[in-house]
């Protein structure tokens, strides 16, 4: 962001003074309107979603958020089980993806031999380019059977005393499969941000640590990680935001079940997945409005998550600028 800091720059400030030309005014006006348009767009999104959810909000109030169940026959809807599914899948994915992503970033910045650094960086970023619907297709047709036949029984027999690893279900789709798919999807986000952060650590600090006789890992733990802690936290939060909002891949593999089960191998559903699976099937205005209420909850979460991440980035960016 420091490249944008041009407060003293004469050539890039707003128009002012006596001799303002018509063309200048037009360009500044058009560009300013476009920027205003972006702000209006965000407001319009919030307004339209609230408006669509109004019927459900006035019928169920805030009780909707915690009510477990989705009953189109008796017109009783609630977000409870989907909030649970969203929380478990995205936190699970974050727990799996973070150490992997940090490992990848450390590999790319500290360990990789020159010849493979570039290609591996490009490959990891290519992972981010695969569309979610393709990952979901692979998840439902290739990954789910493997998990069902091999991974889930093994985890159940080894860790079955923990309620999370209960008996596997016969379909292979479920919360666990969704966690793995989300892990794959947020891995490149966290690792590419972490890689850039690790690259920003000043060489003097790292050389100083090595000069004191630390091993490479001790240097990473004592210098690289503390120096980039805030940024890595922001990267994790951005990954969480992506996992919260992913609809299609989750809808394909999570098994579409309304209810709360602590067994990760059971099917469930997430906020975004529930919306995606019901795009043609809302049988009443109240059900449609309740689906939009789910979208509203999702919108609130994702806005909070992104603002928090940006604030962390800006806070630590300034702090690190001073330290460096």
């Amino acid at each position: 962001m420091s490249t944008l800091d041009t407060t003293t720059d004469v050539t890039r400030r707003p128009l002012s003074g006596r001799r303002v030309r018509l063309g200048d005014l037009l360009l500044q006006g058009a560009a300013g309107l476009a920027a205003l348009g972006a702000v209006v767009l965000v407001g319009l999104i919030a307004w339209k979603i609230v408006q669509g959810a109004r019927l459900s909000i006035s019928t169920f109030g805030l009780g909707f958020v915690t009510h477990v169940g989705w009953d189109p026959v008796h017109l009783k809807f609630g977000a409870g089980s989907f909030l649970f599914g969203t929380a478990v899948t995205s936190i699970g994915a974050l727990i799996l993806a973070t150490p992997l992503a940090i490992g990848i970033a450390l590999f790319l910045t500290e360990l990789a031999p020159g010849g493979i650094r570039g290609p591996v960086t490009a490959l990891v970023e290519t992972l981010a380019a695969i569309p979610s619907v393709v990952i979901g297709l692979w998840g439902i047709l290739v990954l789910a059977p493997i998990l069902r036949d091999h991974v889930e029984p093994a985890l159940h027999s080894a860790l079955g005393f923990i309620p999370l690893f209960g008996p596997p279900n016969s379909a292979g789709t479920g919360i666990f499969t969704a966690i793995i798919i989300l892990t794959i999807m947020i891995l490149p986000i966290i690792s590419s941000i972490s890689r850039e952060l690790f690259l920003s650590v000043p060489h003097e600090l790292k050389e100083g640590a090595i000069g004191l006789g630390t091993t490479r890992w001790e240097m990473v733990r004592g210098v690289v990680i503390p120096y980039t802690r805030g940024g890595v936290a922001a990267a994790m939060i951005l990954g969480l935001g992506r996992a919260l909002g992913e609809a299609i891949a989750v809808a394909q593999v999570i098994g579409a079940f309304t209810g709360i089960s602590w067994n990760l191998f059971n099917p469930g559903n997430s906020l975004a997945g529930m919306i995606a699976l019901n795009y043609q099937g809302a049988s009443s205005g109240l059900e449609l409005s309740s689906l939009i209420y789910l979208a509203l909850i999702l919108l609130v979460f994702s806005v909070i998550v992104n603002i928090v991440a940006q604030l962390i980035v800006r806070h630590f960016g300034r702090h690190q600028g001073v330290a460096a």
Partner: protein
């Protein structure tokens, strides 16, 4: 407690322990990178293997026939046409809008507004695609029904922050001496901006646009509510709802019929090849334009 244990450890043992820990951590980092690369290879390989077998010329030129005999060749031509039109519409809407926003942020806005618009773009980029779908549903579809225009608008909302962000970044790379030189010979601000500064960034803007196209061409969620109630015939009219490749894959993958799965794989293969090609193109453009700007500075 552990410090008491450590203090009676001999220095040589301690060094060895530290080296073993170091080696272990290095191995884990190698492993993490290997896992990521392996996932990519496995996904691309399964899509290629399953997709190539179901892929033929009829798949690209014919459409689906409901309740057809198994030996009838079916295709998704309508979905390819639909994706082309909808992504084209989205690009036509998002590109000029995004460039104008970037010009305002980088060339005119005072710092607090620059910060604010940047934050708004970040928030917009973080809104889940499915929420955008519902937004366009409420804004357009409720009153006017589904159409390729509505789908294109939904994708444009997703593209906008990507295009604006990359354009802001390349505009910031244009050396200030260029602006000063243009103003110094008496050019008006608008001519300096549109005639001198913006052309310098053409490579970067193209990169941003290409990567944004790669990103939204595979988006399914915003199209579910805006362009999914479709027919099986090829249709070029953007005021109708048009089938798209991602929505077709989503619907086919939910089907229990293995023949539908084969078609889903083939469609996924075509989509993936398009997206990988576009991202590589974007990456190549990015290196090229950065080198060029670096020389100018």
């Amino acid at each position: 407690m552990s410090s008491a244990v450590r203090s009676i450890e001999r220095p040589a043992d301690r060094l060895r322990r530290r080296r073993i820990v170091n080696r272990g951590m290095e191995l884990l980092a190698w492993l993490a990178a290997a896992i990521a690369v392996a996932i990519l290879v496995i996904v691309v390989f399964s899509v290629a293997k399953q997709g190539a077998s179901a892929l033929n010329l009829d798949f690209l030129t014919k459409t689906q026939v409901p309740f057809a005999a198994p030996n009838v060749h079916q295709g998704l031509a309508n979905a390819f046409v639909g994706t082309l039109i909808i992504v084209g519409l989205a690009t036509a809407m998002a590109l000029p809008f995004g460039i104008l926003i970037a010009i305002y942020v980088n060339e005119f806005a005072p710092p607090p507004i620059r910060y604010g618009v940047g934050l708004v773009l970040d928030v917009l980029a973080g809104v889940p695609a499915i929420v955008i779908g519902f937004f366009v549903f409420g804004l357009i579809v409720v009153a006017h029904g589904q159409s390729a225009y509505a789908g294109g608008f939904a994708l444009a909302v997703l593209m906008l922050p990507l295009v604006a962000r990359t354009t802001i970044e390349v505009l910031a790379l244009v050396p200030n001496s260029l602006r000063e030189a243009a103003l110094g010979v008496g050019a008006a601000r608008w001519r300096a901006t549109l005639g001198i500064v913006l052309p310098q960034t053409i490579g970067g803007v193209l990169t941003g646009a290409t990567l944004a196209v790669a990103r939204v061409a595979g988006e399914t969620a915003p199209l579910l509510f805006t362009s999914s109630l479709v027919t099986n015939s090829i249709d070029w009219n953007p005021s109708h709802a048009l089938q798209t490749v991602p929505v077709a894959i989503f619907e086919l993958s939910e089907s229990p019929d293995p023949a539908d799965h084969a078609r889903a794989w083939a469609a996924a293969f075509v989509l993936l090849m398009f997206i990988l090609f576009t991202s590589l193109l974007g990456r190549w453009l990015a290196t090229r334009s950065r080198r060029k700007l670096g020389r100018a500075g």
